[in-house]
Structure formats: C-alpha cells, structure tokens
Symmetry: D2
Subunit: 375 residues, 4 copies
C-alpha cells in the first residue's frame, strides 16, 4: 500500500460544481487525501466551505496556503485548482514556484498572455503540471488513441468533432452561467473556451495531430451575451487532414454531447461522451464493429484505466478519476525518483497552452469575418 498523496484544493467551495467532481475523482482510486483548502474567494466562505468538508487545514486564500503548506513537513504534495479561469494563472504560479504539483482545471488561463507565462513558470518548476482535460481519461478514448497510433484506420483524412449543449439557450442568471459568460473571468471565448477547448483537445489527443490553422464563425445568439455561445470552426491539421469543430450552448436537446469521428484511409472511429463505454470501429469494407470497454477487441490502453467488467458502465467520474490516477502515477514516480511507468498519459501545460491558443485563434478569426488564421 503506497502512502496517499496529500492534496490541497483552491476553489470548489459550497456552491461550486466542479470542485465536488474533483474531490470524488481524487477519492475513487484512493490515492489522494484531501488535507488542506482555500475553497473560496473570501476568507469567510473559504472557512465555511472548508469546515463543511472537515478539512484539517483551512486557509483564507491560495497564496497563504501555498506559503504555509510549503513550510510544513507533511504539507500538501499537490494542489487542485478549480476556480474560475481567470484565477488559474496566479494560483498555479504560487504552487509551482514552491515545488507543489498542480492539478488544474481547464482552460489553462483566461488569456493567452497568462497561458504563456504559466507555461514558462511550469517549465522552471520541478513540480508537475496536470490539466484536467478529463475526457481524455475515458478508457474508450484511450482505445481510440491506441488504435490510431497502431495504424488501424490508416493515415487520417477527416476529423469531425462537436460539443453541443443547451443549458445557455436562454439568458440564465445562475452561478455556473454567470462567470462562464463574463469575459473578464472566463476569457474571450464563451462556448469555445468552456467546451470548444475540450473538443479541440480530444481531437488532438486521439489523432496525435495538431491544428495548424482554423476559420471560426462565432455567435452570441442570446441577446446581451458578451461571449460566443455557438462556434463553427473549420480546421486544417498539420499533415493535411481536415476537420470541423462545432461547439454550442444553445442547441436544445443536447446535454453534454461531445462526440468525435475520425476517418482514415482504411477505417473510421466514432465515440460519444454520453455513451462512453462504446467505440465504433468501421474498417472500410467490413461490418461495423462495436467495441466495449473491457470487452472483446479492447486493448491495453483502455484496460489500464478500467475498473470493472464490460457491460457495467463506467462514467464521467471514473474518467475524471483516471486523470487523477495518472497524475498519481506521475507524482509517485517523481517521489521515488523513477521514470514515468509505460502507458501513463495525462494532459500537460503544453496541452493547456494549445487550448488557449485555440480559443485565441477562434476569437481572432471570427473578428476578421472568419478568415483563416494560424495557431
């Protein structure tokens, strides 16, 4: 039994959504122990939220936490940053410079300038930086990535990726919506930043291809909205593949309908986040095949991140937990001075920078009548 990793948390107070998800994700495989937190933006709320969770050490703010934990003999080894986007940079920097590993929510930052500075800070730190592009933790996403890498669909020609939602169809006044539609806190991208980055990252993760240029037509359909709530994007990948990316928060009937289809010279793959235990593989000229998590035809990459037999669905929280467990593998390897075990993969600062570049490019393109721009 390896000792659990001592974890702190910034953000994720009482009325936040994603903080609770991170906490469950960190618990599922029992490799973390949450021991400290600065859970809210005011000392009072931070205190109340910390007490509600029974946290051993509660701080007024992230800076205080970083300073004090770094001095403790048994201080936190890693911190989860789950605040609104505009806080990511300042918070992450404090921990990185003190050698505390950072597990940070996406997008990396609210501006490209911050993203670049943070990338530099991460480079200069000995600590790890893990970005929770959680959908890369789904076993069948790993399966897809492995199949592409193994050449099972041949050279890629076309990538269709989309992430429609409907929760912002109307003008809503609840907290989750509030900061996500405020450019000062979420960044210049609305749907592009919140979910388009997930789609972009998923496409990169599965195909191993980088977007070289894009043309984006962004809209804010709801009157008064300051950031895009719908994004239509055409993609050109290095190496010649082409793609389309659609993200929307105003598509009634869609909950979190992230879906990707990849077509190569000899076959296709299709995966949908809402039914994540399935992967369609369509080798050209053969019957369609439905591969299931841990079922026949699923390979090592998926099996590594799978807990239970096929037909017993694993979901969003398990996928999220896989990011935490991959991070634990990396943290423990580092702790023990060992190399990263084979197969361990997690989204890095580099992926975060690419994501913010994607948002920036979408906004730039759209401002120029959806002209093609380079990333």
């Amino acid at each position: 039994m390896t000792r659990r990793i001592r974890l702190g948390m910034v953000g994720g107070g009482n009325d936040a959504f994603i903080g609770g998800v991170h906490r469950i994700a960190s618990r599922i495989d029992d490799r973390y122990e949450l021991v400290a937190g600065a859970l809210s933006s005011t000392p009072e709320k931070a205190q109340a939220s910390g007490e509600a969770l029974g946290l051993p050490r509660i701080y007024d703010d992230f800076k205080q936490m970083a300073i004090r934990e770094a001095r403790l003999k048994e201080g936190i080894e890693a911190v989860a940053i789950v605040t609104p986007n505009h806080v990511h940079y300042a918070a992450a920097r404090e921990f990185l410079k003190r050698g505390i590993h950072v597990i940070c929510d996406k997008p990396l930052t609210s501006t490209l300038a911050d993203a670049k500075k943070l990338a530099k800070a991460a480079e200069q730190s000995d600590a790890l930086f893990v970005l929770t592009h959680n959908y890369t933790g789904y076993p069948m996403v790993r399966q897809a990535r492995e199949m592409v890498a193994n050449g099972e669909i041949g050279k890629i020609r076309v990538v269709q990726v989309e992430y429609p939602q409907d929760w912002l169809t109307n003008h809503e006044e609840f907290k989750q919506a509030e900061w996500r539609t405020d450019p000062a806190r979420s960044g210049a991208g609305g749907s592009t930043g919140d979910i388009g980055t997930h789609a972009h990252n998923l496409a990169r993760f599965i195909t191993g291809l980088e977007v070289e240029s894009l043309a984006a037509d962004l809209d804010a359909f709801v009157p008064g909205r300051q950031v895009d709530d719908n994004g239509h994007v055409m993609l050109r990948f290095a190496g010649g593949a082409k793609g389309m990316l659609w993200c929307s928060q105003v598509a009634p009937g869609n909950e979190n309908a992230l879906r990707i289809r990849v077509y190569g010279e000899t076959g296709g793959l299709e995966w949908a986040q809402e039914d994540p235990n399935y992967l369609w593989h369509t080798p050209f000229g053969e019957p369609k095949r439905l591969i299931t998590r841990n079922g026949a035809g699923a390979g090592d990459a998926a099996a590594r991140l799978s807990r239970i037999p096929p037909g017993h669905p694993e979901g969003y929280l398990e996928g999220f937990a896989n990011i935490y467990s991959e991070a634990a593998e990396a943290i423990e390897a580092k702790r023990n001075g060992k190399p990263l075990p084979p197969g361990v993969v997690y989204p890095t600062i580099e992926d975060g920078l690419r994501g913010v570049e994607f948002i920036d490019a979408c906004v730039r393109s759209s401002a120029r009548n959806a002209a093609w721009v380079k990333l």
Copy 2:
C-alpha cells in the same frame, strides 16, 4: 380511378442504378405507366435496355423521342430524365419546349450556365419541372418542415447538416463512380454535387431558409481524383442563422448517412436518412420526444405521404415514390385545369438552380482558400 400518367424515360439503361429506382418509385402508387424510353447513350444499348423492360416504344435518343412522342395522340405526358448530370440540360430542354412535363434527377445540370438556361426554358414552358431531391419525400422530413413552419422550435439559430458516405474511399473503377468523378460529366463538384446538394436542399426544405453566403474547404483525398471527395462548408443563412454542412465520400463506415439537426430558440429537431421513420423533437426544458411516422404526435404533412401504420418502416423507395406522387398530383391538376391541391410540394427548377449555385459557390470559395462567397 384516374387514368395513369403516360411516362417516358431518358437514361436508366441496363447498367445504371438510379433508373431502376425511378421506375419502382413511379410504380408504387400506380399513377404512372412507363410507355417509352431512350434509355442509353447509344442506339444499340438504348434498344436492348428498352426491350429488356418490355417498353412499347423504344427510341435511339432523347431528341427523337421528344419529337415523336409530342406528335402522338397518346404520347407521353411526362418524362423522367435519369442520365448523368451533363445531359440533363439538353434533354430537359427538348421536352419542355414540347410541353412535356419533366421529372429530372439532381443536380439540375453540370454547370451553372446550363442551370440558368434551363430555368429560363422551364419558365417559358407550360410544362411542369420536377427535380427528384427525393429526400424531401420522406414523411418525417415533411413533419420536420411542418413543425418549423408552425413555430414549434422557434426562430432558427443553428443548422447542422451532413451527408457522409464511404464508397469512394479508394480509387474505384466501377461505372457509378466513373462518371461521378469526371468533372466533364458530373460538373465541377464531386461530393458537393452528388450529395452536398442533397444536404443543402434538405436544410432549405426543412427550415425554409436560404443560404446567403458560405465558406467551403474542399478536398480530393484520393490521389488523382479530379473532383472533391470531401467538403467542409460553413453556412450563413438569410435572417442570421448559421450552419455547417459536411459531405464526404471517403468516411469509412458511412453508407448514406444524411443527417440534419436544426436548433431554434425553443427547441431542436433531428432526422437521419438511414432511420427515416423517426424524428427527434427536443423542446427546451422538456424530455426528448421521439415522433414516429404515423405515430402519436405526427401531423398532417407526414400523414399525407404515409402508406402504412407506424412501426412498419417505409424506406427510400417510398420516399422517392412520394416525389412521383406529388408530381402526379400536380400533373393531374394541370390536366384538369385545377389548382394544386393543398399540401402538395415538390422540388422545382428553382430548387435545382439553388443547388447548382451552391455547388458553384463551394468550388469558387475553395479555390480562394475557403473565403466567404455569396450565393
């Protein structure tokens, strides 16, 4: 019992595909009688194909047929033109100018110039012109159109339409592929012309919106191919709606996966050609609803074109037959000097012209690095 409409056919000889489809479609509702044909491009083949079908009157070519049938007392009242695209214009013109109704396969013509001339010819003729954009004949497509018109999803914001196939994934040498990948016969658009036009037409038909401008990134992924086999298109509709259109012939696992999703201010609709008896309706804030052909929630527009009870699927041929039967309604109304009965709708020369404009715009845009072009 109304007398059957005497029908001729141009094209559709022994080794053609779509001719047989037209013949079945014309038979299903028993409103046509095929009595004459010029079924192939050489007199020998035309003769042999006509005999194989037991046609009463067989002609060497369409011009001969048009001239002679026009003189007969009981000559054909309508002609189905099912040749490769580049023949449509010349053939249709001959019949139109002799007052014989034309039922013509899509796209209208292989060039925009031809399309405009044919539109003029149709305008000057007393005969009807029906374009077999057959997917508009599916009952649940009519249902979708009716629901949009009735305001059931509110003002439209987003239209996602796609038509992927995989049959041209490799370089193939069979007849269907041959003329469709030859710009001299199919026109400048490959996938855009053959299937992109269907997608474009379907979007127009259901939403009632016209595409004002588009940006198209077209590719010919198969080496040596002279026309596009994949098209990525961003759409801007009059009135402010935005859309994406994807057509592909190189997407392994896709057969005829035409699919459309329409999102308005209060709800969404989704229909897929391969499962055509279903229509998803997703009113915002209510459970998703699956409407079935002739089932609960389906309205008059779908019922008009439905033959059998819900749960007994009607398919492609019945949808195609609906175009023929709508045409029969129009022809009979004309024959009897009566107005078109309420509810009767079929694709016209105008739709054909729009389709060729769409192809032309895609090709123009792509040639200019996918810049926005007006239609």
Copy 3:
C-alpha cells in the same frame, strides 16, 4: 421481359388495410398485373371497391370469380386472398381446386380443422400455395437464416422472440380491431393469432427448428375482450433449444416491435423489424458486428432480395414485395416447367399449418393453467 402474372384479389376493399399493402407489394417488382377482384363481402361494396381501383373484371364474390376466371383463356393465374381469417379456407379451396395459385394472408385459417382441410386441398392441387408471412421477406432475415444454416453461430441454444404492439391498449371500435378481436372471424387466438404466429414463424424460419412443445399463459387484459391480447409462451424446440415468445397488443410504446435474438454455442444474432436493414452478429469473444443490408458482410441470400445500395433503407413494403417476387419465381418456373431457381424460398401451406397448430397449442395450454402441450 417476362409476361406479367395475371392476378386476382379476394378481399381488400375500400376500408381494408392489408389489401392495399398486397397491391403495392405486387407492383413493386412489376411481375404482376391485377386484373380481377371480389374485394368485399357484399356485391355492392365489391363493385364499388373494384371500380375505385379500375379493375378490368369485378365479381360479386370469390366463388363466382374462381369459376369464371378458370374458364377464361386469359384468366387469372394467381389470386391474393386478403380477407379476415375465417374466409381464407373457403376462398382458397375454390381457387386451388381450379388450379389457380393462391397467395394467402396469415394466419392460414381461423380453426385447426380448416387448416388441415386446406393443407389437404393444397396437396391435391397442382397450384402453388404461398402464405404471406411477410417478415420472412426482409433481406436481413434471409441473412440471419443463411448465417444459422452456415453454422456461423453454432448449435442453437436459446431463441428469444417477441412481437409487442400497443394499438389495442384500450377497447377500440375501429374496423381493424373489430374482426381481429372476434373469435368467430379471427379464430381462438387474439394476439397469438395475429402477431404471435408471425413471431413463431420467424423463429422457425431463421433457426430451422420446430417447436415441439410449449406452455402459454394468455391474458385478455382489456375488460370484455374475447380473445387474448397478451401471450407469454415458453418454447421447447426439437433438438434441445429453448425459447420464449411474447406477443402483446397492450404494451404502450410498441408499434410493431417484432424482434428476435438467437444464441448458439459460438455466437448470437439479433434483428428488429422496425429497423430492418440491420443485423447484429455477436461472435463470442469478438467485437459486436453490425451488418447492414447490401453492406459489408452481407451474403447472397440477402443480396438476392435487395434492390438498392446500403444506407438507403428498404422497408416493410419491399419485404412484402419480396414474398410476391419469390412467388413469381415459383409461378414462372411452374409455367415454364422448370425447377424452382436456387435460393427461392417462400412460406408454404406447411408453414401455415404449423402456425395454426401454434395458436391452437397456445389456447389449449392456457386453458390448462399454462401446462406444457405438444404441437
């Protein structure tokens, strides 16, 4: 071009449902010509219905039609019998004894005694007897049958077949319901006779196995209903396979949800009538495979009965037409003194007799507290 088969029809007048289906089915492949009819149970209605269809020869009743047509030089070669069940026997007998081929709706008769007499009459006649168990005409049902015969799923262990509907959930007073719930006209079985026989026949057709004994628990859930509207049946097949059959007319949400699953020692098959262009094949220990009509992995038996490429769905009417076209193959072979072409299969009087035995056994079993009875 082979001369069309001259066809007559008994039943199928103005307000009937299934007659129209038979007429379309006979037209789709252009191998029949409907030239005579006795379409209703009263001379007046028969006359009116015949005129509405523009029939050349209209008769007051089936006996008159059989007598006169048999004497004509160009009289009908085949007759479609599409009346309520209790008329099948008397009508079919008249044509069989005059050497006119019979295409008869199912179930064969309303009583087992009639079925046995009709089987004898068919045996003594030189004419063919074709029963329209239309679901056996679906290409993917043929595909399933071929795969079982080829041993692709190994020795069969388990057969799950069901046919739920919901149209008789309440007490309804429309014509289709009326005779189907009247034991004098439909026979002793309600749901068992109307749809249970389809399920039973489909299981036999695909697996090649005969039901040896069964235990049936039948219910009439709607107060006052005289025949069963729900049947639960356990099946024991010759050779040791076991099965369950469920038929229901009171299962809200089910339209014509005929579905069969067959499991052998090395794989499984699954087919659903409402999505008939797909067949799941699940070889044990391999990914699930989805075979599509005319798509990769589909074999000769399905291709024989397929008109159009994969992804363009064929439906109920095409499946029904396949029965008519198989019958046409048999009739023409007979006409020309040739053997039945290889691959041609259609439901026979023997299948009809098995079906009525099934209904009879269900009713007998249920009357004895669902005891096991032999067929």
Copy 4:
C-alpha cells in the same frame, strides 16, 4: 461534516472482483472509512490482502473480527460481507448478534433454510441489514419506481425483465466462474441465483408488485455444468399482472444486459442497465419520451441519488455507491436516534429472503417440468 462510518470487510481479497467494487462504492461519497478486514478464507491470504490495502486492523477470519471489533471502543460500526454466497449466513450472523450493521452482497444466502434463519437473526438484532441489490441504486431506476408509484403508467399489466450475459458460454476455469457454478458455494441456482435474482428484485422494486407464482424452465447448456446457465421464467404477480423473466450466462454478445420493461394501462417504461442514464416513458397515444438523469422530466427520487448534471453519465459504481449512501443515511439516523429521512430506500433482509425464495421456486418448478409453483 459528519464523522465517517467505520467499516469492516469480510471477503474481497486480492483476487476477488466484487470486494473492490464495494470499496470504491463506499468511498465515492466519503461517508465510510475502511478500518478492518478479514478479506480471505485463509489467514495467510487474509493477512496479505489486508496489508495490500493498508488496513489498520487485519483479522484471520470473520468470527475473530466480529468478536474483537465489538469490544473496541472505536470498533467498526458496519461490515461489508462480500464472500461467496454460502458464507453470507454464518458471517452475517456473527455481526448481527453483536449489533454491527451488515451490508451484504446478494443473493442473501445459498439455501432457503439459511435465508430464513438469517431473516430471524436480523429481526432479533438491533443492527441494520442492507443487501446490495445495487441496481436499485441507479437514479433512473428510482425514477421508474417513482413514476409507477405516482400512477404515471396506470395499473400494471405486463412486466418483461431479463438479464442475459455471455461470460459462461464455454466451460471456463477462472475463479469468478468457479464458485458461481458450484452449487455448494453458490446455491442451487446458477444464472437464476447470480443474475435472475437481480432481475426479480428489480421488477419488484420498480413495480411494487410481488411474484405470487412462477413456472421456470432452467437449463445447463454447457456440458458438465451443475447449475443452470439459462432460465426461462413466466411470472404471475399479486393483483393480476403477468411477466416474463429471462436470465442467461450463455447468450453471446450480452455483457450485463439487464433490462426491464413495464406496461400499465396508460403507459410504459423501459430501462437498460448498460445505458443507465436514460429512461423511456411511453404514455399511450403520445410521442415516446426519453428522460435523462437529472434532465427535464426527472423527479426528486432520481435527483436525490444524482451527483452530476445530465449528459455526464454516472455508472455502475455510482449506482452501487448510492446503496452505500442510503445505508449511511440509515446508519447515521440510527446513530442519532432519528427516523430514516424521507426518500431513503435500500434493499433489506426481506428483499433478500424474497430473492432466495425466487431461486428456490425456480429450481422446484424446473424439477417438476416447469410446473407452476407458489413462492
């Protein structure tokens, strides 16, 4: 922050499957702390397994654990029993008689005699008894139950429930299969005991109806197998509803395909375990409705057990965790002398007894040629 419940575990050692599931389930909502275990049937393995988990207190066997923990001031408050079935009774008894709450895997026991004795032991104990019929923890199962209770589908007529798997299609020699096919350890039922009980329990849970009598045709298709691997069961419920239950371990292509359909006088419901975030509701005469977890149309019963927004799937582990959290609610209420909070429901000893009666009735019926037997 409420203090975590101190939990022990019996069974669930290194090479067991279900023990790991219980441990994750107990962690997800952070209401338990695993502090003691007797994880295997030999002291050596128990020690090794306990050390691998880093358990504070490791015991050689469950009796030792029960005795010592009961004496500790901070001893376990609850124990999870996750051994093979034949050990449940003896183990549970030891804890119940010392007032330690029992969370026990299903089926309750391997014999009906044991089940009755255990029911008596539970009755005489002050401790709670929770049976992990985990599928009742899925939010959409709660939704279905709530809808039935609210009369949304009317009086129930028909229940179709099934649980097919394929993992025992061949004779397998791995550990999970070994004890499950040994009547001495699993009990007289094979598939009926392992998964048929889940189906039976799910039907009871959702409908609120009890099975009064059944007729079961059980088979052991794999040569040499000593317990059934396929069960066909007809059900008669108190109050007149009828049902069918199918369980199988030899149905290739089925992983854990538990599925239930319930039909009442005014509507239907359908739920499938492999896609657990969806519930079909089919009110008669209205379009089908797809209700999603936490989505529109989902009610309080589902929301109580839901952690994340719609479209982010929760799976098997979250459903299992819900049983643990319901148990935690009950344990904490007991701890604080408070009544069970409204809405809290978990499977009890009574459900366990019903399950073993179901297995016993299936075996009895099958031995008598599938005669009807009372439960």
